[in-house]
Subunit: 227 residues, 2 copies
DNA sequence: CCACATTTGTACGTATGTATC
DNA sequence: CGATACATACGTACAAATGTG
């Protein structure tokens, strides 16, 4: 039997993108149209499109069409979940990657940040100190990443947050008072040193922050093992 | 029509993993067996399995069976390629992420590396200086990541190398002599400072190394735009 | 080395459900 | 409401790789 028909679909779409005939957000030809153009059945077209969808290249909307997507983070998060499940990685590893991304973003931010952006961080921090919610904590770190302005770091960071988020929530809501105070303290130092352009001191604060989380993860894992 | 049958397949496999009945490398029940167990057609089973395969959770071997996999790097690399193609990220972004990962790995390595591991780096560096091949350059950076010992960083790093590799090859083989000399110089300093446990100096060398690549990427992009 | 059963790979057709316009 | 388009599921058939006897 002739093969690779459904991969022809992937190649066909890729060509359309490379030739500039398709841009993010654009609607693809209908599945039946692709079926006729490529001389394959609609089922085969769907095989190809689903492969692209699983990679986050396109998004299918029932009753409307298939659209070129430009956000692939969701699928990265799913993969990370399975990697955790399979024991290929652990929460410490997630935390290390977050630390690496935040340090790099911070270094960029310290060279580019404006007073307005620093003010924005203070506002988030004030809300965090008032509400003590995990959402605001995530918003704070997201803001740092955004100051770095790198889209890939944002995508990876979002996926990592998605995986480790519930753990952070648990630490902040059910953890010791010490943990919360130290978290808020390192946050404040991060903003202060950013304002003063003291990159080494700021990176030290970030390092301290993630060391605290690292310790907390280790403690949590120890508890889990004994239960 | 009743729906989500193929997602039941994903859930079923996930349960098998969670319950410890399936470990990485294990063979899944045959598609026909799953078909009977879950009361769905083989095509539906394949829909579910292919979804897992596209996420790097399992690997299908024709004539043999479906095996639980524990490497999803390839999937990540494919996604990155499309993100580049769609303009969601660029090579500068790839380079920034590599820099972040290598800096973090280096910081860990400087606390844990043994004289034997440092010797291993020198050996790779000697080969690189003799052959001046891009493969050895990648081997050098891989070795640094490995010293960090974090599996997630290794996975992401591999995917990034897969995407940016051809560009590095081009820089090293067709670039100016200056570029090659500076690359070799920063490499040597990275090893020396690792040996001397001088973390700040080492990180500065890495920063310098990636700044050089960054400049080269900018130059390359400028050339492409004029062509 | 060959023959064979098993298993996955690919493709097709068909039918029906459901969201969009 | 109807037309369109995607979502899901089933069945069938044959190709190709694997493993075994």
């Amino acid at each position: 039997m002739e093969e690779d028909r459904y991969q022809d679909v992937c190649t066909y779409v890729r060509r359309l993108i490379e030739q500039g005939q398709l841009r993010p957000g654009d609607r693809l030809p209908t599945e039946r149209a692709l079926s006729q153009d490529l001389g394959v059945s609609r089922g085969t077209v769907r095989d190809g499109l689903r492969l692209l969808e699983s990679m986050g290249v396109l998004e299918s909307r029932q009753g409307s069409g298939n659209y070129l997507s430009n956000h692939m983070g969701q699928y990265l998060a799913q993969s990370l979940h399975f990697m955790l499940l399979l024991g290929e990685i652990d929460y410490q590893s997630i935390n290390r990657m977050r630390r690496a991304i935040e340090l790099q973003s911070y270094r960029i931010a310290i060279q580019t940040s404006t007073p307005e952006q620093v003010q924005g961080l203070w506002r988030i921090q004030e809300e965090l100190e008032r509400t003590r919610s995990a959402e605001k904590d995530e918003a704070f770190h997201d803001a740092i990443i955004d100051l770095g302005g790198d889209p890939l770091m944002r995508i990876v960071s979002d996926a990592l947050s998605d995986v480790i988020g519930h753990l952070i929530t648990q630490f902040l809501t059910r953890g010791a008072q010490d943990l919360l105070h130290q978290t808020l303290d390192t946050h404040r130092r991060m903003i202060e040193y950013l304002e003063q352009r003291r990159v080494d001191a700021g990176c030290a604060a970030i390092t301290r922050h993630y060391d605290i989380i690292d310790t907390e993860i280790a403690r949590w894992q120890a508890e889990r093992r004994t239960i």
